[in-house]
Amino acid sequence: MDMHRPAEIILTILFFGLIAGSYLAAQTPPPPVFEQPLLVTSAGQSSGDAQIALQLAKRAALAATLSKTGTGKDLENQKTLVLVLGASMKGLGSAGLDTNKEKERIRELVAEAKKKNIPILAMHLGGGQRRGELTDEIINEFLPAAKMAIILKSGNQDGLFTKICKAKDIPLIEVDKSLDAVEPLKKIFKR
């Protein structure tokens, strides 16, 4: 039950197809590509995972707002959209949404972000237990819209994130533990 892990933090940063030739070593920190402030929303109403993303952003000293059911209008004055991928049936129920309505909301949000030239950072923070049919549908549909992705390694055991990010030239940062995402967040956002 209690998953013992080595105390040392192993942080693996992988980039796929980042502007060709710019980064030779896999460990090279990415340049700051995102700007503040950022709007965080769950794609799939996993409110706990979205809250983790918000707290990570705060620890990275980023100006972030969490919006449970945000739409394109909420992108006013925002410079980055953070989509926390992961479906929760309970969360959808609590928000009074069904799967289709939630996907519609995210589609509109993504379209509006594109229109406003607001880049998307995708995150998946629920690990293996936050994978499943519905979450995978959301990953398959919305991960390709991201400019970069930060995920918990335990959620990528089947390589779904690796596959999509490789195909779409999206830099993928995998971390062992959520807190390990703070440093990469600091680096990829402009101060």
Binding site: Q51, I52, K177
Partner: protein, 343 residues
């Protein structure tokens, strides 16, 4: 008369009270229950920790007793109710064949802990209605009339269980509690397990604690308290009392439906071949191997969870920080056992 469970508070105890001190109409009833207060020298926040809401979930009760027998508050105040549904500890669930108590070896000799029922003793509250309408107006199955975790915010003139819930709400008010933590266990086949359930006012706290726990090797699910599920501590403490509210669940095979023979060993060692098989078939929400999930690991999980929640509170709301010393460390409890931290 039934002998009360032996609890030996440590020297740092500030006050020993009863729930009836906060709600006098519980006095002399089977719903009255001990309350232990630990106040630090420095002002800070006030935290309520509740065990034994469900007396068939031993990790919450045992964790509370370990706190009572060890901690020292440095800053702020901790109030502990180890047997929230005292009546539930006086009987066991019918037709389950559960042991009535289980032993823990300590340096001072063997200690016994009661295993009770999920609900209030029918001798103390009878009969159950066909349909129970709880204090929030939600309708539930009749037996839930005796479930403390459906009875919040309680009712001063209600049934015994509702009076206990009301007493806890009174305690929250009078002790000016800022954060309430309700310690539970759930069956391995139940999805809300190894979980922190949080009122939406505590989402930041739950997420902060979850990240710290993950960094320490404890995986916890984050579960938002559904706003339409009423009468539960993590809902009504937040909605009605306006305090931060968190509930934690550890995995307990001894009250699950898939278990084999109920026994003292199943409670303490947490091994069960049917749960092992269910895990192999992918039917559980926690890993379950031949080593089972022993009580000491479940208690360690609660202790790690409490530590992480207190440190999260300090980070997010420094004015409400509560600092304690001598909280039994989770890693040592897993190695040395529960008894090493009992008097």
């Amino acid at each position: 008369m039934r002998e009360a469970d032996a609890i030996h508070p440590g020297p740092a105890l500030t006050a020993a009270r009863s729930l009836s001190d906060y709600f006098p109409s519980l006095k002399g009833t089977p719903g009255d229950t001990p309350v232990y207060v630990y106040a630090g020298a420095t002002e800070g926040g006030n935290v309520l920790i509740i065990g034994g809401t469900h007396p068939n979930e031993p990790a919450g009760f045992v964790t509370s007793v370990m706190l009572i027998e060890n901690i020292r508050a440095v800053r702020g105040k901790i109030v502990i109710v180890p047997q929230a549904n005292a009546s539930g500890f006086t009987h066991s669930d019918p037709q389950e064949g559960s042991p009535q108590r289980f032993p823990i070896a300590t340096a001072a000799g063997q200690r016994w802990f009661r295993l009770g029922s999920r609900v209030t003793n029918p001798i103390h509250q009878w009969p159950d209605p066909t349909i129970y309408v709880n204090p929030t107006g939600q309708t539930l199955a009749g037996i839930e009339a005796r479930n403390l975790n459906r009875a919040y915010p309680g009712k001063a003139g209600g049934n015994l269980t509702e009076k206990v819930a009301f007493g806890i709400m009174e305690l929250i008010k009078k002790e000016r509690i800022d954060l309430g933590i309700d310690l539970h266990e759930s069956a391995p086949e139940y999805p809300v397990i190894n979980a922190i359930v949080f009122h939406e006012n505590s989402a930041d706290l739950a997420a902060t604690a979850q990240m710290e726990l993950q960094a320490e090797g404890f995986e916890f699910r984050l579960e938002a308290s559904p706003p339409n599920l009423r009468g539960l501590s993590h809902r009504e403490w937040g909605d009605v009392a306006g305090i931060r509210a968190i509930l934690m669940e550890t995995p307990n095979a001894s009250h699950g439906r898939l278990k084999g023979k109920p026994s003292v060993e199943l409670i303490i060692d947490g091994k069960d071949k049917f749960y092992e098989k269910a895990a192999r078939l992918g039917r559980l929400f926690v890993p379950f191997g031949p080593d089972g999930i022993p009580l000491k690991n479940r208690v360690a999980r609660h202790l790690a969870g409490l530590k992480a929640v207190l440190s999260g509170l300090k980070e997010l709301d420094p004015g409400k920080a509560v600092e304690v010393e001598d909280l039994p460390p989770a890693d040592r409890v897993r190695v040395e056992g529960i008894g090493a931290f009992l008097r």
